[in-house]
């Protein structure tokens, strides 16, 4: 049973436009969420996180939105740049637990110049 789902395996966006990556989860115990970016042949790089006490967190061009009632989070990248082309993973965890991350299967973002 996939507890964290990224239903869009790929997304293409024009440079300068907004990229919206979506993630759904099923476990209501999750209280901490993160987004990682992964380039080929490299490990995942931390992008941004949000705890369940917030519904929005912003860092530069990246904003994460959390809708707890819908068990849904999204990552917005504005404006998108060609260097943003990568695979994006969302992850969720329970802070009071072992803090292991449960990852989605990733969305491959391609930003077209």
């Amino acid at each position: 049973d996939q507890q964290v789902k990224q239903n869009s395996p790929s997304l293409s966006v024009q440079e300068g436009r907004i990229s919206i990556l979506n993630c759904d989860y099923t476990n209501s115990m999750f209280d901490y969420f993160l987004w990682y970016k992964k380039y080929p042949a490299e490990g995942p790089t931390f992008l941004i996180s949000i705890s369940s006490i917030k519904d929005k967190n912003e860092d530069g061009r990246f904003t994460v939105f959390l809708n707890k009632s819908a068990k849904h989070l999204s990552l917005h990248i504005v404006p998108s740049q060609p260097g943003d082309s990568a695979v994006y993973f969302c992850a969720a965890s329970v802070i009071s637990g072992t803090y292991k991350y449960i990852f989605g299967t990733g969305t491959r973002l391609k930003v077209l110049a």
Partner: protein
Amino acid sequence: GAGVSQSPSNKVTEKGKDVELRCDPISGHTALYWYRQSLGQGLEFLIYFQGNSAPDKSGLPSDRFSAERTGGSVSTLTIQRTQQEDSAVYLCASSFYQETQYFGPGTRLLVL
């Protein structure tokens, strides 16, 4: 400072052989995690260390998989009698207690 490092970066082995994968976490990080990513899949949790103890081994897929951590630092993941389905990228991450996890570049394992 230096990030998480893993060795080897690539490993090709024959079915039935044992392999050892090494992880050097960020200095001072107390927690260490092993994940793996099979082709077309997300990252799958394997095992978690806090110091040298492993309170959560729930993700290890079989008893052929084991891991240890010594001196609160370096960790080794051992896969005995490798099978073709063990082929994956094995990723190590470390964190300061329950803060954000930082990942190494991974070891790409191919079992022929």
